[in-house]
C-alpha cells in the first residue's frame, strides 16, 4: 500500500525566500508529525497534528516556521525568510489512532532543503 509521501524530494532556495514542503500521510492516519534532521542537531521534533485538535507546535524553532493540515490529511510546512541554518532534511511521519507511545510512526522519504 501507499506509504507517506513528501514533495519535493529536494529544494534549493536562496536566503530570504519562503518555501513550502508538502506531506501526504498514510490514508486513515489521524496523527501527523514533522521532524527535522540536520548535521548539527540530529533528528528533532517540530510539530504534531492529531485530528481536528490544535497542533502541538512546541518544537518549532522560530516564528518563521508554521504548518497547516487541511481536511485532516495533507500537511504543508512553511518556512518564511529562509536562513542557511534551515538547511536540513525535513521528515514527515504519520500514525494511526489511538495515538499512544506504542504506535509506530511511519516516515516519509523526506525533503532535503538547501538554503544558499
Amino acid at each position: 500500500g501507499a506509504g507517506v509521501s513528501q514533495s519535493p524530494s529536494n529544494k534549493v532556495t536562496e536566503k530570504g525566500k519562503d518555501v513550502e514542503l508538502r506531506c501526504d500521510p498514510i490514508s486513515g492516519h489521524t496523527a501527523l508529525y514533522w521532524y527535522r534532521q540536520s548535521l548539527g542537531q540530529g533528528l528533532e521534533f517540530l510539530i504534531y497534528f492529531q485530528g481536528n485538535s490544535a497542533p502541538d507546535k512546541s518544537g518549532l524553532p522560530s516564528d518563521r516556521f508554521s504548518a497547516e493540515r487541511t481536511g485532516g490529511s495533507v500537511s504543508t510546512l512553511t518556512i518564511q525568510r529562509t536562513q542557511q541554518e534551515d538547511s536540513a532534511v525535513y521528515l514527515c511521519a504519520s500514525s494511526s489512532s489511538p495515538v499512544n507511545s506504542y504506535n509506530e510512526q511511519f516516515f516519509g522519504p523526506g525533503t532535503r532543503l538547501t538554503v544558499l
Binding site: 506509504g3 507517506v4 496523527a31 508529525y33 521532524y35 540530529g42 533528528l43 528533532e44 521534533f45 504534531y48 492529531q50 502541538d56 518544537g59 521528515l91 511521519a93 500514525s95 495515538v99 499512544n100 507511545s101 506504542y102 504506535n103 509506530e104 510512526q105 516516515f107 516519509g108 522519504p109 523526506g110
Partner: protein, 115 residues
C-alpha cells in the same frame, strides 16, 4: 524530560561477525523504546519496539534488542552482519506520560560493514 544517548557514532564490523549498537535512555516514566534504521537516501524504517510486553524484543532482518531497566539500556544486536546492514541506526524513546507520542531520537550510529 526524556533523552537518548547512543554511545557510538560509528561502528565498523566485518561481514558475518556480530553487531552491537549501544543505547542508553533517560525517562521520567516507563518508556516505549524503538530502533529505526535509515539507509542512504531512504526514509526511516522501524526495526523493532519495546512496549513492556517482553524485555527481549525481536525485530526484522535478524535484529534484536534487550531492555534493561536497571541499566537504562536498550542495546541492539545482530549475530551476523550482512552487507545490506550498512546504514544509520537510531535509538528512539517515546514518553507515555507526554501527549502526542513525540519521539526523541538518539544521535545515530553509522554502521559500516566490511567484506
Amino acid at each position: 524530560a526524556q533523552s537518548v544517548t547512543q554511545l557510538d557514532s560509528h561502528v565498523s564490523v566485518s561481514e558475518g561477525t556480530p553487531v552491537l549498537l549501544r543505547c542508553n535512555y533517560s525517562s521520567s516514566y516507563s518508556p516505549s523504546l524503538f530502533w529505526y534504521v535509515q539507509h542512504p537516501n531512504k526514509g526511516l524504517q522501524l526495526l523493532l519496539k519495546y512496549t513492556s510486553a517482553a524485555t527481549l524484543v525481536k525485530g526484522i532482518n535478524g535484529f534484536e534488542a534487550e531492555f534493561k531497566k536497571s541499566e537504562t539500556s536498550f542495546h541492539l544486536t545482530k549475530p551476523s552482519a550482512h552487507m545490506s546492514d550498512a546504514a544509520e541506526y537510531f535509538c528512539v524513546v517515546s514518553d507515555p506520560g507526554a501527549a502526542g507520542n513525540k519521539l526523541t531520537f538518539g544521535g545515530g550510529t553509522r554502521v559500516l560493514v566490511k567484506p
